[in-house]
């Protein structure tokens, strides 16, 4: 087994037993980035010097026998997570020169264990998109097929893990932005329960849906990372007081679990190979002794509309601060305040971001609020109620992560409605604030990975990890050929 194929748990052992130093491991990954990232284009910023310094600190800590679970492990982070003193672009021209004077809490927690942050990886601009092709910087490729998208918006995170340019990555998920790229790139990605990980220092897209989570080679690695980055934070008023042990249910038997299969997630819009792979995985659970229960989520047909209204409404407000006054891009061609703000936003934002700001502004405008935003909130309540009722009798839910495997670059990005509809399998989880993990459950005829999602009750993140891990234990993954 190559070094880069090893899980965090295996690397932990090697580091602690001094089979390798963190500096060596970090150098190894930095070399891989130099060798392969010009094809993959996952990193916007590589923090070589900082990473090696941190690795040296990690080695000292390991030498003292004081290592924590991520000490010395090389990790990439999505470029919407603030890192003090390091440019944080959000994949946008607007933040080309923005250097935050603070760490995101999640990044701070990695550094507190002396995890090594290799650099900042690409994403759709302001996390709006599912292809990473709206990034102003690196339009990341899928390591399984360079002509295909890695998914998004955490496409840089997923590709960096799949191409083994990092042992794991932190991404963010507002409507599927961790799970969908994880599924496209054949890695495991988890969005924890809303509030489990502090959002402080995560540049906001849609505040009531945004969550930070890991992308890694396995559910176990995700659990290990989540145990480090989760927890209540006084700097985030929406962070939960709930203490979650993400590893608590690892290895618990699947026998007796009731797994829900919502029929609407296996309907017309879903690619037949995807459907087949996910149902085959479900059958594996049945073999392990789980009971499969067909359920229904009638409001799914309104989910995309509700999601795009609420998320865009919040985004229109969250992104209003980019006005060229205090930080970020500022147009050189303006005489008045009005002109300055208008031109800055016109020149600094990309198409998709502008589209969503317009949509959100419209949805909140007087005269339209009741017809759009308020109705979307009503659908949100309906979806939450439908999940509640399903979880009264089921322990977890199994769905496809995306309607299709990774598509070709340029195939659907020009059609916003098609792009939005592709989020159908992931958005309800954010609308309801639930934990969900995507893991690879098969490969299509072209060898592209197919993802399956396990969704759980709020704060029962451990069950979601348990279920995904049980499948992974018996499933053989294929590596991309670089």
């Amino acid at each position: 087994m190559e070094l880069c194929d090893k899980s965090i748990l295996m690397l932990r052992q090697m580091l602690d037993q001094k089979e390798i130093s963190s500096v060596e491991l970090t150098t190894y990954y930095l070399d891989r980035i130099k060798e392969f990232d010009h094809q993959i284009e996952s990193y916007i910023t590589v923090c070589e010097e900082e990473a090696l310094k941190r690795a040296a600190l990690a080695d000292q800590r390991i030498a003292k026998g004081e290592s924590k679970s991520l000490t010395g492990i090389p990790i990439s982070i999505k470029d919407n997570l603030c890192l003090e003193g390091v440019r944080t672009t959000c994949g946008s021209k607007m933040l080309e020169n923005f250097i935050p004077p603070y760490h995101a809490t999640a990044a701070q927690k990695l550094l507190a264990e002396d995890a090594v942050i290799l650099g900042k990886v690409s994403m759709d601009e302001f996390a709006m998109g599912g292809s990473t092709q709206t990034s102003y910087y690196k339009k990341t490729k899928n390591p399984y097929d360079m002509t295909r998208v890695p998914g998004g918006s955490s496409g840089g995170s997923a590709a960096s893990v799949a191409a083994k340019l990092a042992a794991a990555s932190l991404g963010s998920d507002t409507g599927g932005s961790i799970r969908q790229p994880a599924s496209f790139c054949g890695v495991t990605g988890m969005k924890p329960t809303y509030g489990a990980v502090s959002r402080y220092g995560l540049v906001a897209f849609a505040s009531s849906f945004d969550q930070i989570g890991p992308l890694a080679h396995s559910a176990k690695d995700c659990a290990s990372i989540l145990n480090t980055i989760a927890g209540h934070d006084i700097h985030d008023g929406t962070s939960a007081k709930h203490k979650i042990d993400f590893e608590a249910k690892l290895g618990n038997p699947i026998k007796g679990l009731k797994l829900a299969l919502p029929k609407e997630f296996f309907g017309d819009g879903i690619d037949s190979q995807v459907k087949e792979a996910v149902l085959k995985a479900a059958a594996e659970y049945e073999k392990m002794g789980a009971e499969l229960i067909e359920v229904s989520m009638p409001s799914l047909k309104y989910a995309i509309a509700a999601y795009y209204l609420i998320a865009s409404a919040e985004a229109s407000s969250n992104l209003a601060r980019y006005d060229g006054i205090k930080f970020g891009y500022c147009t050189p061609h303006a005489k008045t305040y009005e002109e300055r703000i208008t031109r800055t936003r016109k020149e600094g934002f990309g198409e998709e971001v502008k589209r969503r700001i317009l949509l959100g502004t419209y949805a909140l405008s007087s005269g339209y609020y009741d017809a759009y935003y308020k109705k979307a909130l009503y659908i949100q309540d309906k979806i939450k109620a439908e999940y509640r009722s399903i979880f009264e009798s089921c322990d977890a839910m199994i769905t496809p992560t995306a309607p299709t495997p990774a598509y070709k670059i340029g195939e659907i990005e020009g059609d916003p409605v098609k792009m939005y509809l592709a989020d159908i399998c992931t958005v309800t989880v954010n609308i309801a604030g639930l934990p969900a993990i995507s893991t690879t459950c098969g490969y299509d005829n072209d060898g592209m990975p197919i993802g399956m999602s396990v969704v759980g009750k709020a704060f029962d993140d451990a069950a979601v990890i348990q279920v995904a891990d049980a499948f992974e234990t018996n499933f053989k993954t294929q590596n991309p050929r670089l």
Binding site: L95, A206, D236, G237, S317, A320, R321, I325, K326, L364
Partner: protein, 479 residues
Amino acid sequence: MANYIPVIGLEIHAQLLTNTKIFCSCAADFGGEQNTRCCPVCTGLPGTLPVLNRQVVNYAIKGGLALGCDINRYSKIDRKNYFYPDLPKAYQISQFDLPLCIDGKVKIDIGEEEKTIRIHRIHIEEDAGKLVHDNIDNASLADYNRCGVPLIEIVSEPDMSSAEEAKAYVEKVAGLLQYAGVSLCRMEEGSLRADVNISLKTPEATRLGTKVEIKNLNSLKSIVRAVEYEIERQTKMLVNGEEIIQETRRFNDNRGVTTSMRSKEDAHDYRYFKEPDVIPVSITDEDIESIREELPMLIDERFALYVKEYSLNRADAKILVASKEISDFYNEAISVYPNYKAVANFIVVELLRYVNEGELDSRNIPFTARAFAELVKMAEEEVVNKNNAKAILKIMLEGRMSAMEIAKAEGFLMNDSTDEIEEVVNQVTSEFTSEVEGYLAGKEKLFAFLMGQCSKRLAGRANPKKIKEILELKLAALK
């Protein structure tokens, strides 16, 4: 000329006295070098999040209780979206449909009449920064120190009908918030600002006229002037058959006129929606009761106590309750020396003279109410005479000595023994022999002269009655 009744409502913004800002831990008080009291959170840097300061909620509830409001048990925080260079997030965190406090009322006095002004709602919100216009570079500079300073916005019902009532209302609200200890309400420092809504209607009209809003009035004087100007302007328009348009106006302090800022068509659509970063506030009955217990006795109750129980006249009682510091000072003084009227009189006539002349800050009286009570008692019991009591007060304002120490040091103590008086009377009558002779010859006016000479030499140490008695005896003996 047609008779119109002005209909006036006010929105008062008062800065809360918390140590830190509403959503971060920056200092919230007035002043500071530009852009030194701000941080990534209050200047809205990407990724930062607001965390609600619970003290702001408690202070707002306390203010609401002082203004007779009901407190909502569930209150929601919202975003008000608009672009302005002093608003770094381009939205203000405020409250829209579920404010903390609703349905209050305050009483105001208009001459002998009492009137109740209803309060529609009170909500919490963050203040914006400040723009400073630099004439040298012809640029506008932003100072973010004020960003995130906690405010309450107090919205009245349109219950006022004159500038005088508007002024009395603002004074009363400010007084009550000061009593509650939740705001300094210093208009000159910007910790209290008001927007005024005015419309006119004829006495028989059942509907309100078109209203005009005047923004950002920052002194009582400008509130009065703006209201008076606006009533006159609208009256003229209506008399001339012109239509009032709904608009926002600003008051020009130098010219004393209001000018149009924007019409209804240009009004902002604030696109209010629930602030997703701040969870709604839940308030229990216990929370409210424990806050209510912290409230001191308020203006109206103290006034009633002073008039009914202490038999003070209404004018003096009103002056005493106008400032919590003075009223507290009075209460403490009478607890030591319960001569209600004498203490009230000495405060109103003597002590407040220094306050009114700007020589004394009522929040910073350099001696205790107990020391003051001692002085009043000495004057009342004629231990010192009235003039010397005033002189002692003046000295007390400069230092820390007690009234008695000062009286002794300055020789102001009344002398009860007649020896000194007799000695002085002897001196005077032997020195001013021609005046004595004149008096004895029937020029009775000269008695006052001789009396004056004696008093002067005794320098207030003796009771004038006694001097008169002894002088009369002496002159009778010389006859």
